[in-house]
Symmetry: C2
Subunit: 144 residues, 2 copies
DNA sequence: GTCAATAATTAGAATTATTCTAAATCCAAC
DNA sequence: GTTGGATTTAGAATAATTCTAATTATTGAC
């Protein structure tokens, strides 16, 4: 199952971490799957509002935290300010354009990337962020 | 020069990115060098205030941004909320304990870690964050 | 050294991002 | 069907950062 798209699958996945299925969690997850542009909680809130006008900020954060806990979504902090969210759970790193703010997922080839593991530390997950200029911004550097 | 500790060196380094030397920048940099615990801007502010009681939040942010721009300091975002700052410019990644908040620098052995480089993207720097439980917290899991 | 131009600092306000609160609602299990 | 706990809601509260306008400091030209 790449992404749990039906209610049974999503509900089961949530349950593995002790969470209940709710229409709001479904909605927030759908918003993330629909457009993979690494939106902030605020952006997710306004997109979710189109389908569920009653949804609140607190609920969006609650849903995101639940989805992150059951490993359906990754939280990504690329800069000062708002966190971003990403439903791509394949091994990948994030390329972030410091000029235009674009985020690109780049797959990590199996075994090519090794992270040192000091003994004793229990690793949960890791996040690799590469900062710089995207192709477009690098080309138009002079017009900054 | 591992860290520019005297005024001439710090001034010269700031100048390479078009910044001026100021006592506030000296002070903020000294605060970071004095205690390598990856403090937030707020923590840096309160430590800096001991030496310069007049320093303001805006100045601390300005100083940090200048130091980051001229590559004397790294800004690190490990979680939702405040950014942290680190004067260690050796190649290293950050181990972050999601329970107690401790941050550990772990050196990246030369060549061992490779990050994929999509062509066109102009890399400035990259950041590797490993999340999990530190040795102490992993041991005391049951007392969470 | 003095001066002008510009960068940097300051206090505090403003904004942005996130969390908290208390009441209402929902769901699962008995 | 009742109970308990999880979840949602609106809105307040807090935390983190940025902005503003006035002042001060630093640099480079003279």
């Amino acid at each position: 199952m790449k992404h749990p798209v039906n209610q049974q699958d999503l509900s089961a996945r949530l349950a593995t971490s002790g969470f209940r299925f709710t229409p709001q969690r479904r909605c927030v997850y759908d918003v993330l799957l629909a457009r993979r542009d690494h939106p902030t909680a605020e952006e997710i809130y306004s997109r979710a509002k189109k389908a569920m006008p009653e949804i609140s900020h607190a609920t969006v954060y609650n849903c995101l935290d639940a989805l992150v806990s059951c490993r359906l979504v990754r939280q990504v902090q690329l800069e000062r300010g708002a966190a971003r969210f990403c439903p791509n759970m394949e091994e990948h790193c994030h390329y972030y354009c410091d000029k235009c703010g674009a985020v690109f997922d780049v797959a990590l080839t199996e075994g090519a990337t090794s992270v040192p593991r000091p003994k004793g530390f229990k690793v949960n997950y890791y996040e690799i962020a590469v900062h710089g200029l995207c192709t477009d911004c690098a080309r138009n550097k002079s017009f900054a």
